[in-house]
């Protein structure tokens, strides 16, 4: 007896897997559209502009190929700008991270009113950056508040924002005081996550405070140190308002960091093509530094082994 013919089984199109995938795409769509519109498209446009000579006033937009990149290599100011950026970033990262960790350790104590101190140290983070910087510009001027205080102690203070060395130090310190609270809070959260029994065990074994800090605290908060170091370095390369308000890149070009220089080229000198090329350089520097730090995590971050 022959078997009756059966129509081949056609799997349904709208499976659970497909439905979940569609839901996933719907959920990420708003963020994806935002990233494409406000990050990837501008990034692509900046690269496109960097291949052009764009005279805004004359409304000319001419393709010049790699000419802007050749100009970058021949720019006599670039080495000084990169040096200023490196000094600023190094000074900021070292000072900010050290101070933030120190404050976090101090504020991790169980003392009366400690929450007030934490709030005090964190409060500059929520102050408007420009307002903060303007106040500091008054404090740091030659006849300003800082030198007034110093003169009460019989010390003649330097002209902070007009001397090459002190101008850079001033900009770094103003930035550190502004943002140290953020890193401090991150370190504080990490410190509070370290199991207390490890310290007890270490004390039983006879370890002193410094040894406990080096052998227990530092390794266990190392992921936070990595995170804060990446955030701080990237942030330091994007400093702009402080330079614009405090020094305008001077004296000479000693505080002209890369972002300020590209702002000058694009928006003050109207060389939008060359300004875009400098933005690409900044993007490459940030990407390389972040990649290197990310790779270093295997050596310096406790959990990554």
């Amino acid at each position: 007896m022959s078997q009756p013919l059966q129509a081949p089984h056609k799997p349904p199109f709208w499976t659970i897997a497909r439905r979940d995938a569609a839901a996933g795409y719907v959920f990420i769509a708003p963020q994806l559209i935002g990233i494409i519109t406000f990050v990837l498209v501008p990034l692509g446009l900046v690269f496109w502009y960097s291949l052009h000579e764009w005279n805004v006033l004359a409304s000319s937009f001419n393709f010049v190929g790699a000419a802007n990149y050749q100009m970058l290599l021949a720019d006599p100011n670039l080495s000084q700008v990169l040096l200023a950026s490196a000094i600023f970033s190094a000074g900021l990262v070292v000072l900010n991270m050290t101070l933030a960790l120190l404050l976090a350790v101090l504020l991790d104590q169980k003392l009366r009113g400690i929450v007030v101190f934490r709030t005090l140290f964190f409060s500059p983070v929520v102050v408007s950056l420009v307002a903060w910087t303007i106040v500091w510009s008054f404090l740091l001027q030659n006849n300003g508040g800082i030198n007034g205080l110093l003169s009460m102690l019989g010390i003649e203070g330097p002209n902070w924002l007009r001397t090459p060395t002190t101008a850079m130090i001033s900009v770094i310190v103003v930035q550190v005081f502004k943002n140290v609270g953020l890193n401090m809070i991150l370190f504080l959260a990490a410190l509070q996550g370290v199991p207390k029994e490890l310290y007890e065990a270490a004390r039983v074994d006879g370890a002193g405070a410094f040894k406990q800090f080096r052998r227990i605290t530092l390794p266990l908060i190392s992921p936070t140190i990595l995170l804060t170091s990446i955030i701080t370095i990237v942030g330091s390369l994007q400093v702009f308002a402080q330079i614009a308000v405090l020094t305008q890149g001077g004296p000479g070009m000693t505080t002209t960091v890369l972002v300020y220089y590209l702002y000058q080229q694009a928006f003050q000198f109207h060389f939008f093509g060359y300004g875009s090329t400098l933005s690409i350089l900044l993007f490459v520097i940030v990407a390389v530094l972040t990649f290197v730090q990310w790779q270093l995590r295997k050596r310096v971050v406790f959990y990554e082994n």
Partner: protein
């Protein structure tokens, strides 16, 4: 015809006609945008009054004035242009005049103005329009020509035992040597002697109000060569350096001092700053011309022009509005805040009615003489980059032990390639 159908037809026709009419009006309506750097309410009220006057003959045209912060004025303006949102008209500062005029960004005005009834362009002096003219065509109207002068606080000067400018003028001794000496007397008494307003050791071009007295200029007449190393400039900047660091006649870098607060002997600024003189607790002030330098008497003016963007969709209407705004009648209105470049308005009678704070003598000696004889502040194509390069070079001069000549050598070596372009 069915009554209901008739009503519906009439109503529909009314709606369609109405829509059509409003579309036509919308097409005719022109909204002009003009950027300005002053947010002063009195200035805005005057501009709006002029715009209302234009509406009388152009009912479909409205003009909005958009104040931008002075410090970032040109940067914001060029960003608007780069972003595809340029205004129709813009107030342009003298330092960037060459960039705007030479780039072709602005619409030509001469033929349009000459074609307007009663618009006497010849009334505007050639000297005033020089900066805004290219190949015989005017590209922006110099609506404000404001002379630099010295405001003096006689109370502060007398208290310090210094001679006032009026006394020095009366004695025929109003020279930079004596002006610096008076300022030094005040400076050494603990107050501030002389402030070059807005200079702040950044806006060095404002020092032209001093170095022009030595006959110094920052670059050659053709703009191609740096002349900071010329003896006149070295002498002028040496005098300024001595006044700052040796004689304490001028505040040093990093000292922010406002003359109009009343604790300073003298300030160099434009006469339009008279509005800042304190009304409560006024001091005994005077307004005098700049002192004579080794090269003799001189005057310096700051200028602002208004131009129409060539790519404006409303270019022709904007040119027409600019013609109306700057005709003889409206120039008189503008004169109460912005000293005019029209010869017909440069008289004590007109200027006294629009500048009630100033005496007839001040108007004659400072305003009229300044506008008639003044040299405009230095400007150059690609001025922003040149300004910045020279600013960076001059920073080495603003320290007590600077070697003036060698600093100026460095200034020239860094700026010469930019000038030669």
């Amino acid at each position: 015809m069915n009554k209901h159908l008739l009503k519906a037809t009439v109503a529909s026709a009314g709606i369609i006609l109405g829509l059509g009419a409003s579309t036509a009006w919308a097409q005719d309506a022109v909204n002009l945008r003009m950027t300005i750097w002053s947010a002063n309410e009195a200035h805005l009220a005057m501009f709006n009054e002029i715009a209302e006057g234009f509406k009388a003959t152009h009912p479909n045209v409205s003009v909005s004035f958009e104040p931008l912060p002075f410090d970032s004025y040109t940067t914001t303006l060029t960003t608007q242009i780069a972003g595809g949102n340029p205004p129709d008209l813009a107030w342009i500062l003298e330092t960037t005049a060459a960039d705007f005029v030479n780039s072709g960004a602005l619409a030509p005005l001469t033929d349009a103005f000459n074609g307007m009834d009663g618009y006497d362009l010849a009334d505007v002096s050639e000297q005033a329009t020089a900066l805004w003219t290219k190949d015989g065509q005017l590209y922006a109207y110099p609506f404000s020509t404001s002379p630099f002068a010295i405001f003096a606080n006689n109370d502060v000067l007398k208290a310090a035992g210094a001679k006032t400018p009026a006394e020095l003028i009366a004695a025929g001794e109003w020279t930079w040597d004596n002006a610096f000496a008076a300022a030094a007397t005040v400076g050494q008494s603990g107050k501030t002697g002389l402030v070059v307003r807005d200079f702040k050791y950044q806006v060095w071009q404002n020092l032209a109000s001093i170095w022009n007295g030595w006959g110094a200029t920052p670059w050659s007449e053709d703009g191609k060569t740096c002349t900071f190393t010329e003896p006149a400039m070295v002498d002028a900047l040496t005098a300024i350096h001595t006044a700052i660091f040796t004689d304490k006649a001028m505040p040093g870098p990093g000292e922010d001092i406002d003359f109009f607060a009343g604790e300073t002997g003298m300030t160099i600024t434009q006469i339009s700053r008279a509005s800042l003189l304190p009304k409560e607790n006024p001091f005994d002030w005077d307004l005098v011309p700049l002192p004579a330098g080794p090269a003799g008497e001189y005057a310096v003016v700051g200028q602002a022009g208004v131009g129409v963007f060539a790519k404006s969709a409303n270019k022709d209407v904007a040119v027409e509005f600019l013609g109306y705004m700057t005709n003889a009648e409206n120039s008189k209105k503008l004169a109460q805040f912005f000293p005019p470049a029209r010869a017909s308005l440069l008289n004590a009678e007109t200027l006294a009615s629009t500048n009630p704070l100033l005496s007839a003598e001040q108007i004659e000696n400072v305003v009229i003489a300044g506008i008639s004889n003044g040299t405009v502040l230095p400007g150059h194509t690609n001025f922003a980059q040149i300004q910045q390069t020279i600013r960076a070079g001059l920073d080495a001069l603003w320290v007590p032990d600077a070697d003036v000549a060698s600093v100026l050598e460095n200034v020239c070596s860094s700026v010469n390639p930019l000038l030669a372009r």
